[in-house]
């Protein structure tokens, strides 16, 4: 059985005043409308949820019941994918597989929540353990006893070491923020649209040396919903196939990796062919994250990412378009996960729906997600129009 993405939607707000369920309902309704599919026809539910990002409480008990019950879905398959950032990409892949295997007919994939609760309490989804006294690793007694500002401090360690090993400069990282902002200026969904310069980035507040404010995502409220189905109905979306999929999970502490300047993207993207990729949507929690992915997927050799961003036009009009809608650095990061933002942008590009920032004739888009407090999870997917 052939599966296809028949509907999708995303909504993001700096702060959504209504309830999380209300926001979820609005987003899912829009996706179902695009797919011309009703909630009764959805028989697969795949979602992700992070502690502290649903209704402000530490956890949501039995979210499988809560989400299905609220949305009026009677699934015969439920899957909770909990590794944050790249989970949305995995959901789409699994939905395709489930439909092709005849297990289900239509899947709803949901990612998001509210980032504002934790943001207002100066916590993040990666420091939520200290805020709510829940565990983050099996080694918390020897790891979570230090003063940090994770995830910013952890990524700062990577940026610092990348600079020391390879001579990568603050200016080079800033170029990523500057060029992504250029893309955001033509994207209705972006919350940050005023032009910025390298000097602006380098004079923004130092948060965790060497990472500055304009290199770090802003957590927001929002959801993304994607509907994969064997039924096309009245959906105008073009058929898209998954040309490549890889996921990798590095389960040791980053201190035990060969070096912290690599991510599991090295493995999840193994074997991907970069020829004829029209756009790249690379997980952009921080500028350094994008730089690492540029190297790990093979656009540049390890250590040459800085030079690459200095000499390559990565805007949507450029030679190698990256984060064509400005990425989550400019759209905002809903519930501390950027996966929905980059997947939605890929689908907009592939359907010629990226108003104002369309890459001409975009037919193959590579999306790469990174997740976990420690960059331990990576998913690489290439979507191709048929």
């Amino acid at each position: 059985m052939k599966s296809r993405i028949v509907g999708f939607s995303g909504m993001t707000f700096k702060k959504y005043e209504g309830s999380t369920f209300q926001l979820l309902s609005e987003v899912v309704s829009k996706a179902m409308e695009m797919a011309s599919i009703s909630s009764r026809e959805i028989d697969g539910l795949l979602f992700t949820i992070l502690p502290g990002t649903f209704d402000g409480k530490a956890n949501v008990h039995f979210p499988s019941f809560q989400l299905s019950s609220f949305l009026g879905i009677k699934p015969k398959y439920i899957d909770v994918i909990d590794y944050g950032g790249p989970s949305a990409l995995t959901m789409i892949y699994r939905a395709f597989k489930l439909i092709e295997a005849g297990e289900i007919e239509t899947a709803l994939c949901v990612v998001g929540g509210k980032g504002s609760f934790l943001r207002e309490n100066k916590a993040t989804a990666d420091s939520v353990d200290k805020f709510y006294n829940i565990s983050l690793t099996p080694f918390d007694e020897f790891f979570r006893v230090y003063e940090d500002m994770n995830p910013v401090t952890d990524y700062a360690l990577v940026a610092k070491r990348h600079g020391k090993l390879f001579g990568t400069t603050d200016e080079q990282r800033a170029m990523i923020a500057v060029n992504q902002r250029k893309n955001a200026m033509d994207n209705d969904k972006a919350i940050y649209k005023n032009p910025i310069t390298v000097k602006d980035v380098l004079s923004s507040r130092m948060v965790s040396d060497p990472l500055r404010l304009l290199e770090i995502v802003y957590p927001v409220d929002g959801f993304h919903a994607f509907i994969v189905s064997k039924h096309q109905r009245n959906s105008n979306l073009r058929p898209i196939r998954i040309d490549f999929y890889g996921e990798a999970h590095w389960t040791e502490m980053p201190t035990e990796w060969k070096d912290i300047v690599y991510t599991p993207t090295v493995e999840s993207s193994k074997g991907v062919k970069l020829e004829k990729i029209d756009a790249y949507e690379l997980y952009d929690s921080f500028t350094i994250t994008v730089l690492l992915e540029i190297e790990d997927i093979g656009l540049a050799e390890k250590g040459k990412g800085g030079k690459f961003v200095e000499t390559t036009d990565i805007t949507y009009r450029g030679e190698i378009p990256i984060n064509t809608g400005g990425g989550s650095l400019n759209v905002g990061q809903p519930a501390y996960m950027s996966g929905g933002v980059i997947l939605e942008e890929a689908l907009l590009q592939l359907n010629d729906m990226a108003r104002g920032h369309q890459v001409k004739g975009a037919n193959r888009v590579l999306v790469n997600g990174i997740g976990g407090w420690n960059r331990g999870h990576a998913v690489t997917i290439v979507l191709e129009g048929e």
């Binding site: 690793t137 006893v145 230090y146 003063e147 360690l157 070491r161 020391k164 965790s208 201190t255």
Partner: protein
């Protein structure tokens, strides 16, 4: 086994000793306690005491509760790495030594510039 290793870690730290684990089978060393060797899967492990000397693998400065704070990774001379707080003006590669601070009724290993 895991609980025993953890207990040993905690009691050594109370005596201001920095523990680590060495695999008796393949010689791999690691800090975060597990009851198997992450490299060769052997369960023949030994808790050892580090000399407490190492080098800064990476670090970052940020505004913490008491002003400028350094968070980093230190690579010990025995070959294992750990996350920690560091005191003093350091750069990557600088030599540091372990010292213990009291925190919430426990002794926590941190590092200072040599």
């Amino acid at each position: 086994m895991f609980d025993k290793i953890k207990e040993k870690y905690l009691s050594l730290m109370e005596k201001e000793r920095l523990p680590y684990i060495k695999c008796k089978s393949c010689g791999h060393v690691f800090f975060y306690p597990r009851d198997f060797c992450p490299k060769c899967n052997s369960r023949d492990l030994e808790v050892k005491i580090s000399e407490g000397k190492g080098k800064v693998f990476s670090f970052t400065k940020f505004q913490g509760k008491k002003g400028e704070t350094i968070y980093g990774i230190v690579e010990l001379d025995e070959g294992f790495r750990m996350y920690t707080n560091i005191f003093g003006d350091v750069d990557i590669g600088d030599e540091v030594v372990v010292t213990f601070i009291n925190d919430s009724g426990r002794k926590i290993p941190v590092f200072k510039k040599k």
